[in-house]
Amino acid sequence: MTRLPSFRAIFIWAALGAALVLPIAVAVTSPLLAWRQPVYIVAGLAGVVALALLLLQPLLAAGYLPGLRARHGRRAHALIGSGLAAAVGIHVAGLWLTSPPDVIDALLFRSPTPFSAWGVIAMWAVFAAALLAALRRRLRIRQRVWRLIHTTLAMVVVLGSVIHALLIEGTMGTLSKAALCVLVVAAVVKAIFDTRSQILPARRKA
């Protein structure tokens, strides 16, 4: 038997949709795109999409989204995580094709732009988090330890990505970019706080 979604569920999904679509829509209509080649445009937008997908991850992991709780939420989290890693891959590969020396500088942490290092740190953390997820069964580490490492990496991804995005003067709108960054940080903080009993080592009662 299928139940009709509640008004609350509809509102949450509509608000989330707006939070994801609005910054992307602003970036897609940026005047800067007129002076960029297709590869550079795709590379930049892949970064914007990655930032938007980042908002979904803590919401799915903590089971906040109506219809995608618990097991379904974790499946979606894994799927979006793969998409996130792919978007970061497209972002970096596209920038490399556009201007190889600038990307090499960034990867070697010798770029003149401070946001590059934050982006590269976030990139390695997102790849590591994805790899850790892919190898979860084979690694045979305790669930709690796995969660602690995965969550720590996720925090590095969020911090690195948000600083990276905020320092960049690019296609994203100043306001919609700041709003998305605030939402991403708020979501990850709330998710970690709410699931802390599953992440942190069990505390004995005093």
Partner: protein, 170 residues
Amino acid sequence: MNSAPQTRRTLLMAGGSAAGVVLATGVSALFAPARAQGLAPTPTMQGGANNYLPGASVVERIGRGGFWMTGTVRRAGDGAPLQGVRIQIWAHTTEGHERDPESHGATLTDADGVFRMEMPQIVPAFGQPHGHLAYDADFDDKRFETVFLRPVMRSARETNLSAHFVLRPA
């Protein structure tokens, strides 16, 4: 070193030369013995050489113009203006990408060591509205050491940008 409200980038870019001028002309007259080194050479900036095109030809203007890149070239130590020094300029503009050959052009300094190049409007690329300038020793009989600069515009709306070279004799 400089009390004027400047961004760190401008300070890094012009710091060596601007502060050097103050030292060389104003303060140094009073404290000459404390200034044995004289005007310090401009160091190459990180990423300055990216997408450089060795030997880009001297042009009257890059593309259709509308934006001005200006600056000075002086000798380290005594700060003497250097005439006829070839400076290459390139950037991501409204007319082309940094890697496009048409985005590159060189110009020569006048008797006062000043260069002025009209070029298309610089637009933000790779996260910052910035330009590139080069003094390449290989195209100047190795008279001075090579220097690459990468100045950043304070705002993408500005229609000019300047960068200053103080070259160390090779």
